[in-house]
Every structure is written in C-alpha cells, then in structure tokens.
C-alpha cells in the first residue's frame, strides 16, 4: 500500500508550507503539518483532517452516527421482487388469471397480461429462515445480516424518473443526489480522495446518466466523481503522454512560486490561498486515487471472494472490491451501478422480454461479488461502520408480458440494507398477495432517505440547503426513518 503520492512531493514539502501557507489560517497550517507527520509515520494515503477551506472538510453529524460510510449497490433497469427476495405463493395458485380487484392496472408497455408465477425456486436460509430465490445463492447465505424491506414503493414507472427519485427523492432533474447531501452534511475523512464516488457498469451508465450523481443546486464540490475501473480512475487525473513526474513537479514548483508572489499582494484573500492549496490536494489525489482503486495487490483469496477469477462475476466484483478499498480509505459515499445502457434488454435488469433469462444472467453477475463484499467488509472490521444498500429503481409486475416478461412496477419493490449494526435476518413490511402494491407498512423513498441519513447521524428534517427561497431537504417535506432499521 505504498502510495506514490509520497514519493512525488513537490518543492520540499516544508518549503512549500512555509512559502505558501501564509494565507492559510493557523488551523489549516496546523492541519497540513499534522498531515505531514501522519504521512511520515505511515506512507499511505491515510484519511485525516481537512484544510478548513475545503468544502468537504469533515463535519459533525447531528447525533452519534451508526455508520460512517455508505456503499450503494444500484441494480439499474428494475429488479423483479417476486423473483428475488419477495416470494408470492399466491402467484402460483393464480397463474394465468387476470389481476383483478386492484383498480386500473397501469402498465408501461402494451396491454396488461395475466398473473405469472416465478420461474425460480425459493428456499429458506439462515437462522431467520427468510426465503430467497435460487438465483441469489451467495447473498442468501448472508440473509441473517440483511434487513429486507419488502414494502418499498416509488412514484414513477419511467426508468429515468424512477432513478432520479431513488437518487434525489424527486422525479425531476436538478436536485442534489443522496451522495451529495451526505457529502454536504458530513464532508469526508480523506481529502486525498473525492468524498463521493461513482463507479458504473462497464457496459455503460445507468438510465438518466450523470444527473443521478449531480449536486443539483449545490456547489460542484458535492457532486459525485466518476471513478473508472480501467485506466486512470479520474478524468484528467494525470497528464497525457509520458511526462516524467519531476517535470510536473517543476511546473508545480514554478506555479507555487509565482502564485506566492501574487498572493503577497493580496494578504487578506482566503480565496487565493484556497486555490493554492487546491493544487496541493490535486497533487496528492494524483498519487492516492490510482492507489485506492488498484486491486492488483489484493491477495488472491480476496480476489476470489469477489469472483474476480470468473469472467461473469469479475466486472461487478471489481467494482465491489474498489468500493471496499475506497471506504477503507475514508471515502464517504460509494455509488455502484450494475446494468448499463448498452443494450437495454440484455445489459440491464429491464426484463420485459424474458424475466427468466434476464434475471438469471444479471443475478449471476452480482450475487457472488455482493456476498463477497459483505464478507470482506466484515473481515476488515468495516461492516459495522458501513451501510450497504441494495436497490433498484422499481419492482416489476406480477402480471406477465407475453407469458415471459414482466413490466415496470413502482407500486412495490424490495430493497435491503446490511452493515451499520442493523438487525439482520428481518423482513420489514410486505407487498400484497401478488406483489402488486406495497401493503403492510409501505415505505416511500423519502422514508428510505430519512433512514439512511439517520444511520449516518443526521436528522433529515434538519439537513437543509437554502435554495430558490426555501430551506430544501433531501426528503422535501416528507419521510420518516424506518423504525426497525434504526432500532
């Protein structure tokens, strides 16, 4: 875990500090010196306090948090709950009959079809005896660590709008995403890395694209940073071509000297000092970001745990392993997407055409990596302080499309959470007998967001950002934390 950032120090580090830090406050100076001590003691990109002028400097939550970091696993395209984590024996009994007595059935595509049983077998797992579908054999083994919420519902049956709702609580663009709110509320532990990172499927981005990790009306500092699984993880992280490191150092040295001459003309300007220190941070990020996502040096058994040895599981396994490494290094919020916009039918969970083929393929891609992630987080002692969320933009219909597929259904979906000392082995709420609507203890996305903020030590009614004449909230004017989760 030797971080190249240390080797590439520019000017003499102390020289830089004494030349350039005159514009920083005493606190920031103390921080930088302290960081230096830290780096000298341990040559890695460790988390540490931030310069006070960083917009993502760590901030105190409202109350003692249960988790410090979030890993969000987003299954793009719409996972069918009836075929994964919410078994519906009534579907077997009524297979082939129309769905009746539930009011007008609104479908996304074409006409409603008849009820359709799941093509998969369910089995009870763990001490809790919770039923899980055969397509998630590895995650099923972890069911005693997982809290399922079987009564989630959303507001839109449009992929993009539903993605936005899960991302920001609103079904319109222009609102900050959950990760932005968390970065805004808590800052981040490690200034050498972005606070909020996004790693999407190699097949393409999720429905709705970058608006899913946008900071909306908040400053750019709070938006998600895309980390790429291949090549340099951050765009423009390093100079193109084969510029020797000392060459970049030479430019940065000159820049620091010239900027310092300039700054002396404006001794009162914290803006200029902040900009000078942002080059220091950028320079450290150049070394630390590649190190953070380089899974090459992980031991073989760990790689295997994530399925890196199998071409089916390797891509998402890689994303999950990157997530653990990032959380370990103090990144606050890691958003993973599985399913990307190449071929919508086959590259996402959007199983209109054939739910058996589609979900068999996609579950196989994520099952082992997700179970591996939970296992590895626990092994590393990170599970208790990390919230893992598994979600999708909506559930699917209990009725069929052409006898084989399923249409979108925001009326009911299952999401689950693990880590953060959440009581595992519980299934919260229930959908109706067919899985058409959330029925018992229905929970909106606002409830979900309120719950996540609560676990991170924040009161969703108090985390506000003033914009457009209002104290905006992630949860608008709604939402209650889910009591079984925060209990």
């Amino acid at each position: 875990m030797d971080c190249p950032g240390k080797k590439l120090d520019f000017i003499s580090r102390r020289g830089f500090l004494f030349q350039a830090s005159g514009g920083l406050s005493g606190v920031a100076l103390a921080y930088l010196l302290n960081q230096e001590g830290l780096l000298a003691a341990d040559p890695s990109c460790l988390p540490g306090a931030a310069a006070i002028d960083s917009p993502v400097a760590p901030r105190q939550p409202h109350f003692a948090p249960r988790a410090k970091a979030v890993i969000s696993l987003f299954m793009s395209g719409g996972v069918s709950h009836m075929d994964t984590f919410d078994p519906k024996p009534d579907l077997d009994r009524h297979h082939g009959a129309p769905l009746e007595g539930k009011g007008e059935v609104v479908v996304r595509q074409g006409h409603p079809g008849p009820l359709m049983r799941t093509p998969f077998q369910f089995k009870k797992y763990g001490q809790s005896g919770i039923d899980v579908s055969e397509i998630f054999p590895h995650v099923a083994q972890k069911v005693d660590q997982i809290a399922l919420i079987r009564s989630m519902y959303g507001r839109s049956n449009d992929h993009v709008l539903a993605h936005y709702e899960l991302a920001s609580g609103m079904i319109r663009m222009g609102f900050p995403s959950l990760g932005s709110w968390v970065s805004y509320g808590l800052g981040t532990e490690n200034q050498n890395l972005p606070a909020y990172v996004v790693i999407y499927d190699a097949r393409g981005g999720p429905f709705g694209g970058p608006a899913n990790w946008s900071a909306g009306f908040m400053p750019a500092a709070f938006q998600g940073t895309i980390l790429r699984a291949a090549g340099d993880p951050i765009i423009d992280l390093r100079p193109p071509g084969d510029l020797p490191p000392e060459q970049q150092r030479a430019r940065l040295d000159l820049l620091a000297q010239l900027n310092d001459l300039d700054r002396r003309r404006y001794p009162g300007s914290s803006e200029l000092a902040a900009r000078i220190s942002s080059y220091e941070l950028a320079y450290r990020m150049q070394g630390c970001a590649p190190e953070a996502v380089d899974v090459g040096k992980e031991p073989q058994p760990v790689k295997k745990l994530y399925g890196l040895d199998n071409p089916v599981t390797a891509p998402f396994g890689h994303q999950c392993l990157m997530a653990r490494r990032l959380v370990e290094r103090g990144v606050r919020f890691v958003q993973l997407y599985h399913g990307g916009l190449g071929q919508q039918d086959t590259d996402t969970w959007d199983a209109h055409r054939n739910v058996k083929e589609n979900h068999t393929q996609h579950a196989a891609e994520v099952d082992k990596p997700i179970a591996g992630l939970l296992e590895d987080l626990q092994r590393a002692g990170l599970l208790d302080s990390t919230l893992v969320i598994w979600q999708s933009e909506f559930g699917r219909m209990p009725i069929s499309q052409r006898g084989v597929g399923r249409d979108h259904n925001p009326g009911a979906m299952t999401i689950w959470m693990a880590g953060a000392k959440i009581q595992g082995g519980q299934a919260i709420g229930a959908s109706d007998e067919f899985g058409y609507k959330a029925a018992v203890e229905p929970h909106s996305v606002h409830d979900l967001h309120a719950t996540i903020l609560h676990l991170l030590g924040m009161d969703h009614t108090k985390l506000t950002y003033f914009f457009g004449g209002r104290h905006m909230r992630l949860t608008d004017v709604y939402g209650d934390p889910i009591r079984q989760i925060i209990a």
């Binding site: 129309p98 993009v160 222009g174 200029l272 942002s278 950028a282 990307g340 006898g403 084989v404 209002r470």
Partner: protein, 903 residues
C-alpha cells in the same frame, strides 16, 4: 381480510411502542364519540358538500365508493385504506391539506377501520357548506403592512446624498457608496492601475482579455475620455452580446436538449440563444425584451425574432415521452414557466406557492393559479421563419398528405389484422411458453379471461417473421396490400420540406395537441381521450380564441380542483388595476401573456427594474446590491444599499430600459475603478466580507470565460458567431454514461474552438470542463453562480488535453512575436495573458525555468532515435526545445491565480 388484518398487527408488534397501539386496537372505537368529531373538524369541509376529488366522506357508502383515486376505506384493513394512509402521511398528498391530525386522531381512525368501520346513527352526516369552505382554502388575506416591504414599494428616485469626500464621489453612484463609507468609517480603495482596468473592462464586458496592443493604447491614451472610449469600443463589439447574453441564458435555464430519459436534441433551440445575444448587442430595451420572451407571438411588433423569443417559455426541461398519458407533466411545465418568469423578471419565488400559500412572502396560492391561468393556453409550436402564406401552404400540404395516408393505413390494417394473428400462431408462437401457445391457439370465444389477455399481448406486441404475413394472405389481398404500401410510399415522398423553424409557444388548446413520442395510439397505450371535446389545436377561423379553463389546485394536486381561475398577477406587487388580458387584433391568442409582460415591464411594477438593475450590478461587481438576484423576497438577502438600488432602477427606466446605458453609468463611477489590491485594517475589521464595496472584488472567471480566455490568449479563438452549437471533445467514457451518446464528438480543432456560449448544452451531460468550474444546473433559473475551489479544477487545468494543446499554441504565438530570447518570451507571455509585464522576480523565475526546460527538452529530443518532424519554427532561431520549454511556461501561466481572476 382477516389474514391481512393480522398481518398488519403482527408487523406493528415488531416495532417500538407496540403495546400502546395494540391496547388501543383492543378497545372498541365508537363512531359517534371518537370518529365523527375527527371527520367533522378535519375532513368534511372538502369532502362533504364540496366533494374534492369526487370524494364524499359524509356516509359509509361514500367512503367505500371513494373518489377519483378509488375506495377510501377498506373495512377491517386500515393499511389498505386511503383515508388512513393519507392522514398517517403514508401516501401523498397527506391529509388534511391544511395541517396534520394528532397521533391520537390518526390512531382512532386506524382502529375504527380495522374494527370494521362501523357506522352509527344517520346514514349521512352533515358538513360545512361547500362554497365557504372552498373559499377558506383558496383565499388569503394580504396584510396591509406586507406592501410596506421594501421590494413591493414602488422605487422612488432618492436624492443623491451630499457627502464630504466630494473628490472621490463626483458620480451619483459613488455618493451613495460614500454615504455608507462615512457612516461606517470605511476607506475606499484608490483607483486601479490602467492596465488592470483594461483587463477588467474587457473580461467584464466581452469575456475576453485585451491584446497587449489594446492595453498599451489605453495606458498611453492621455485624453480625458480615454476610459469612456474604451467602454464604447467594447459595447460596440459583437463579443459583448456573447458575454452578457450568456448571463441571461443562465436566468433562462437555456439548454440544447430536453432533459429526462430521452434528453432529445432541440435542433433549433440555438435560435433563442442567438436571439438573446443579438438583443444584448442591439441593446433592445429591456421592457421590449421582456415582452418578446413572454408574448412574442402576440405583440404589435411580432416578427420572426419575437417569435423565436418565446423560446424562453420552452427552454426548461421536458419529458417528451407519453405526455398525454401523464397529464401532470403539463402542470410541471407550467410550474417551470412560472418559476422562470417570476424569478427571472420579478426576483420572486412564486413557484413556492404551488401547493400552499408562500411560507415567507405574502404570495397567496391563488396568485400562483392566477399566473398559471395566464400561461394556461400555451401550446408548443414550431414557429416557421417564413412568410405567413408560405408557412400556411406548408402546413396545409402536410395536413393534406396526412389526411390521404390515414385511410390507406386503415385499409391496410383491415387486411393485415387477421392475417397477422394467423401468421403469429403459425410461425412465431413456438418461441413462447406452452400456456402462451395454448392461449393463442384457443379460439377467441373459448379463451379464459387470462388467456384473452395473453393472446391480446402476443398478437399486438410481437412481430412476425418477414414473409410470414404474405404466406397468410390470399393472392388478391397480397396484391391490394402491395398497392396500398406503394401508394403510401408515394405520398410520403410528396411531403414538403419544412421551412426553417424555431421552437416556441403560442396559445391554443393542449387537449388537441398532435401526438408526440410515445403518444402514438399504438395498441394498449391506454391514452385517455375525452371524445366529447370539441375544438382544435390552434385557433382558426372567425371569433376570438378562448383559453381552456384552468383551476385552483388544492395542495397542487392536479386531481383536486378548486374554483375556476381567471388570469392575474402577483397581488402584493400590483398597483392600480392593470388589464389581465390584451387580446391582439388577430384574435388567435388570448393576450394574457402580453398583459403579463405589460404589467411586469411597467414603471409601476416595483420589481422589474430593480431586479434587472441588480443583475447588471451583480455581474459588474461579483455581488448584487441584493446578493440573491433571483430572490428579492424575505428569504433573499436584504439590499446593502437600498437607496442606490432604487436610484439605479429609476435611472434604468428613465434611460429607456437600456442595458448599455447602465454599463456606461456604472463603469464610469469611481466605485468600478477601485483597485482590488488594497488593504485597510479598519475597513477589513468593519466589513471583512467587503459587502459594502470599499474595494473592488476579485472575481474568478466563470467556466465559459475561462475557456474563451485560454483560446484568445493562444490565438486560436474562432470568432464565428451564431448558428448551431458545437461539440468540443469529451472523454468517450463520459459520453458512455448517456443513453445513445448524442454528443457528436468532433475533432479538437478550429471548428470547435468557438466561444463557449456556442458549446452544446446537454442537460443530461454538462460539458465536463464547464461543470468542474461551477456550471449551474441547467434545469432551473440561475441568478448567480456558485464559486467553489476544488482539486478537480486544478487537475483539469494541469492535465486536460485541450488545455495542454492551447498552451502549446500560446507558446507558438509568443515565440513568433518575441523570438528566441527567454527574457523576451517571458515578457510577451505575461503581456498576452495578463495584460502586464512581469515583475523582476517573476521574470527571473520564468527565465530560469525556461533555461532548465530548454535543457531538458533538448536532451530528450537528442535521446529519441528518430526525432519527430519538427513543426515550422514560428520565428528565426526558435528550436523545438525552445517551443517545448515555452509551452511548459505558458501552461503554468494558464494555472496562475491571476490568470483565472478578474482583478
């Protein structure tokens, strides 16, 4: 039912406080004692005599029947009962709309429903009378003192204050500032140096830096009006509109794509962008600028440009898919128009009053719906930029062809329909599970209801292999079919080419809008159409156009209609009795938007002139007199200099709403010419944030100006104006995050080295270099951008390929102008980028650096076996090693604090 009931109780038992609820559940609830008082006090005013959403809660039958959203009560199952879910906040909109029930009342309703919702006494109970309860919801009294809030009082021209320091404060603006300085003991900064002033004026007015020659000319111009002449030159430059138009485009939430899932290209949106640029260049009076954008289709001076201007109302994001199936989208678009109009022109957040009265400002919800009524007639159109007769000919030809194709398609469907089903059974059904195959093979009359659904889906939604259809048609039918297809093809060829067009709006009837994407009456789309409606999309023929009715929407819920609304304005900001409609003589539009524009752009409107004067001030000084340019309400910032703002507002109107006049006025003040490089301990202590403007505020270049400045300095800026947007290179992995790409990646080169205002604005994918430098969200109106400093900005300027390439061009330019001498090169590089010469220390550092880099590059070139073909040297004696070293220096200059700041 019993199962569901126990299920819900069990779930409750799992939670905290289960015993309290369980205990209550045990206790029998009495309707008359416990439930009726809750209903009477909270529910019946809207769901009694007035049956909002069609819901009548005065009887058990009414509860079971429910309203537009289905049954309200399912006896025995509170969790499944909307009445409970709404009062418990489990379903939106939560009820009652004007408050919240106590926990005890919610528990009572829950228990009562779970116990079977037994009703006692009269079958129907009374409730308050309808009209008065509706009025109670809709009417809000505006307190008399609300008008006394500074922003709602008409600006009165205040006298210019008499101050002691007449020397500094010869200009009225300065007198207003000085008055405050004297009160607070602040010392204003001295005047900035001429070179600094030249760079400031250039970057401020045209967003580009001055050439070294322009700086020298100004520095050496000893005439008393040298500054005024400089301002005039810049205001006359076409680049002025590109800079100040861009500011307005932020307010107008302008983009080139529609947003949301499809994020479709808006191929003619740029015409609105060009209209804005040209309006600033022409100095269109601001009151006309308002009218054109709100009502350019119904003015006395309507022309192509004013029609393009209505693109303002179209500029927001739209779903553009299955709009007719989702009527609520239209209410969101109306909200977008109201938000952009009220924030943009009035500095008010009227959109906050969509669901309730404004929480902070005296804006009743009814004002929102009266404004909505102003816009309610809007329909999206392509305004053809051709003589009316030509456009009409085009339109009628189009309709004629459609009308001829329609019966042919119907005939085709008649022939193909049954054959398609046979073809499916014969050649496609085998790919589906057995029950599906059985369903389609079973004769229709014998299918079970489920089989009927399945067969219906399969027949309608699954294609059949090519040729399969033919095999099921008789020879005669095949012939007819082929003839029909040929006729359709022939007609399609006759479709006329459309004249150039611009997206905009006019009045019409949205209920007759042509189908958009996803709206096609394809099988099973389930679009709700009201067949009884009579009318047309656009008003034709005799008589005056009448807008479709609009209503007060309770809690903003499209399903909960209150009274019918008539157009009106923001009451608290209205003086006199301005007309709510000014119908144009042609009778095709309502004239409501024109009346709105007249009300806004009137000297009697307390907000319009103040808001625009403040925007101009904001961009000159980096902070408005009101620091929240889009919000003059209570939650905005109070003005630092209210009298000055009023003086500027009245001056603005007096000077014919001329924006250029305001630039002249402001820039000739001492205030504008103060130095930013100025320290004063007492002032710093009294006003550490420099809110009172005792020195000039440094301002970081915005994203566009930064890129433009790099291009100008490198000498590579392509100054071509207007037209379709360009697509500078974007990292392919970023493009891959968007569905269908859409970003047409063009080669990095002169074609895309246009000014940044011409870079494609894609809602779903902001141009990364702009985004990292605080591009505002492109979906809502933005009055002032965030300025943040983050490491990714440093990474962009250090490593981005475009930046490096421009640094190289900048080096070539400098070498060409300065020759091989390192000292000369350093001086020229500073002059070109910063408008000044380097100091001795700066020059020494630069020259030393060049020396080291020349050695490095010379050694490197010697090392490589086959040196790359050296580019033509820009000047005698300049080697490739010189150029490479100089490019390292120019790259550093691009990163300097001084480079990215207006000083």
């Amino acid at each position: 039912m019993a199962v569901a009931f126990w299920g819900s109780v069990c779930a409750l038992l799992a939670g905290l406080g289960w015993w309290a609820v369980a205990a209550r559940a045990q206790q029998a609830v009495s309707f008359s004692r416990d439930v009726l008082p809750v209903l009477s006090a909270n529910c019946l005013k809207c769901h009694g005599d007035t049956q909002l959403s069609g819901l009548d809660l005065r009887s058990r039958a009414g509860m079971l029947k429910g309203g537009q959203n289905g049954p309200s009560v399912t006896p025995g199952n509170a969790e499944a009962s909307r009445l409970y879910r709404r009062v418990a906040g489990k379903e939106k909109p939560s009820m009652p709309m004007d408050g919240k029930l106590s926990d005890a009342a919610v528990a009572t309703l829950r228990s009562w429903i779970n116990q079977g919702a037994a009703w006692e006494g009269a079958a129907s109970v009374g409730g308050p009378a309808g009209a008065s309860s509706l009025a109670a919801l809709e009417e809000m009294e505006i307190p008399a003192e609300a008008r006394q809030y500074w922003a709602f009082r008409k600006p009165l021209r205040p006298p210019v204050p008499r101050v002691k320091s007449r020397d500094w404060a010869r200009h009225p603006i300065d007198a207003f500032l000085m008055q405050v300085f004297e009160q607070k003991g602040l010392t204003p900064a001295p005047a900035a140096g001429r070179a600094t002033l030249a760079r400031r004026a250039y970057l401020d007015l045209i967003g580009l830096p001055p050439s070294p020659e322009a700086v020298a000319a100004f520095v050496n111009d000893n005439s008393p009006d040298a500054w005024e002449k400089l301002i005039e030159r810049l205001l006359a430059s076409p680049q002025y509109g590109e800079r100040w138009g861009r500011h307005w485009l932020d307010v107008a939430r302008y983009a080139d794509s529609s947003g949301f899932e499809h994020d479709r290209d808006r191929p003619t949106a740029w015409r609105y962008r060009d209209y804005v640029i040209q309006s600033f260049n022409k100095d269109t009076p601001y009151n006309a600028f308002i009218a054109e954008q709100l009502a350019g289709d119904e003015l006395d001076w309507t022309n192509f440009d004013t029609k393009i201007a209505t693109g303002f109302l179209r500029a927001g994001p739209r779903v553009e898919f299955r709009e007719k199936d989702n009527p609520q989208y239209r209410f969101d678009y109306l909200d977008d128009m109201i938000a952009a109009t009220s924030q943009g022109f009035l500095g008010l957040t009227v959109q906050c009053a969509r669901c309730h009265n404004h929480k902070f400002d005296p804006i009743p919800q009814k004002d929102y719906y009266r404004l909505q009524s102003v816009f309610f007639g809007y329909v999206d159109v392509n305004h053809y930029l051709a003589p009316e007769a030509e456009a009409e000919t085009f339109q009628s030809k189009l309709e004629n062809i459609d009308a001829r194709i329609r019966p042919l398609r119907e005939q085709l469907a008649e022939i193909e329909g049954p054959a398609r089903q046979r073809a499916f059974v014969a050649e496609a059904a085998h790919r589906f599970p057995e029950d599906a195959q059985i369903a389609v093979k079973t004769p229709e009359a014998q299918r079970t209801p489920g089989q009927q659904l399945l067969a219906n889906q399969l027949f309608r939604a699954v294609g059949v292999p090519s040729g399969a259809l033919d095999r099921q048609l008789s020879a005669e039918d095949r012939l007819i079919r082929n003839t029909l297809l040929a006729q359709i093809r022939e007609l399609e060829k006759q479709r006329p080419a459309a004249p150039p067009a611009a997206i905009g709006v006019t009045d019409g009837d949205y209920r007759f809008a042509p189908d958009g994407p996803g709206d096609e009456p394809a099988p099973g789309k389930g679009i709700k159409r009201d067949a009884s409606l009579q009318g047309s999309f656009l008003h034709k023929g005799d008589g005056a156009y009448a807008a479709p009715p609009s209503y007060f929407l309770i809690r903003g819920d499209a399903e909960s209609r209150g009274s019918r609304m008539e157009p009106g304005f923001v009451t608290v900001a209205t003086y006199g009795n301005p007309p709510a409609a000014l119908p144009p003589s042609h009778g095709r539009t309502s004239g409501r938007r024109r009346a709105l524009a007249a009300w806004i752009a009137s000297p009697d409107n307390p907000l319009a002139a103040r808001v625009m004067a403040n925007r101009i001030w904001h961009h000159h000084f980096g902070r408005g007199i009101v620091a929240t340019p889009n919000n003059f309400g209570k939650m905005g910032e109070a003005p630092t200099h209210p009298e000055l703002l009023d003086w500027l507002a009245t001056e603005f109107v007096a000077r014919g709403w001329s924006v250029k006049q305001m630039h002249r006025l402001i820039m000739t003040s001492s205030a504008y010419r103060m130095a930013s490089e100025f320290e004063n301990a007492a002032s710093q202590k009294a006003d550490p944030e420099n809110r009172l403007l005792w020195k000039f505020r440094m301002q970081r270049l915005d994203a566009e100006a930064l890129r433009d400045t790099m291009l100008a300095v490198s000498g590579k800026l392509n100054r071509e104006m207007g037209g379709p947007p360009v697509f500078p290179k974007v990292e392919p992995s970023v493009v891959a995050t968007m569905k269908n790409g859409i970003w047409n990646i063009e080669e990095d080169g002169p074609k895309v080295w246009r000014r940044s205002v011409y870079v494609y604005r894609k809602r779903g994918m902001p141009f990364p270099m702009f985004e990292v430098f605080d591009l505002p969200d492109q979906n809502v109106s933005c009055g002032g951008r965030n300025v943040s400093t983050v490491p990714t900005q440093a990474l962009t300027l250090l490593n981005n390929e475009f930046v490096l390439r421009q640094a190289r061009s900048y080096a070539e330019r400098v070498a060409g102008e300065a020759g091989p001498d390192a000292g000369e090169q350093a001086v020229r590089a500073y002059q070109v980028a910063l408008g000044r010469e380097p100091s001795e220390s700066e020059k020494r550092l630069a020259v030393e650096f060049l020396g080291r880099q020349r050695q490095f590059h010379a050694a490197r070139t010697a090392e490589s076996a086959a040196p790359a073909a050296a580019p033509a040297a820009p000047a005698r004696g300049v080697t490739e090693a010189h150029l490479a070293a100089l490019a390292d220096l120019t790259h550093v200059i691009y990163n300097l604090n001084e480079f990215v700041y207006i000083r």
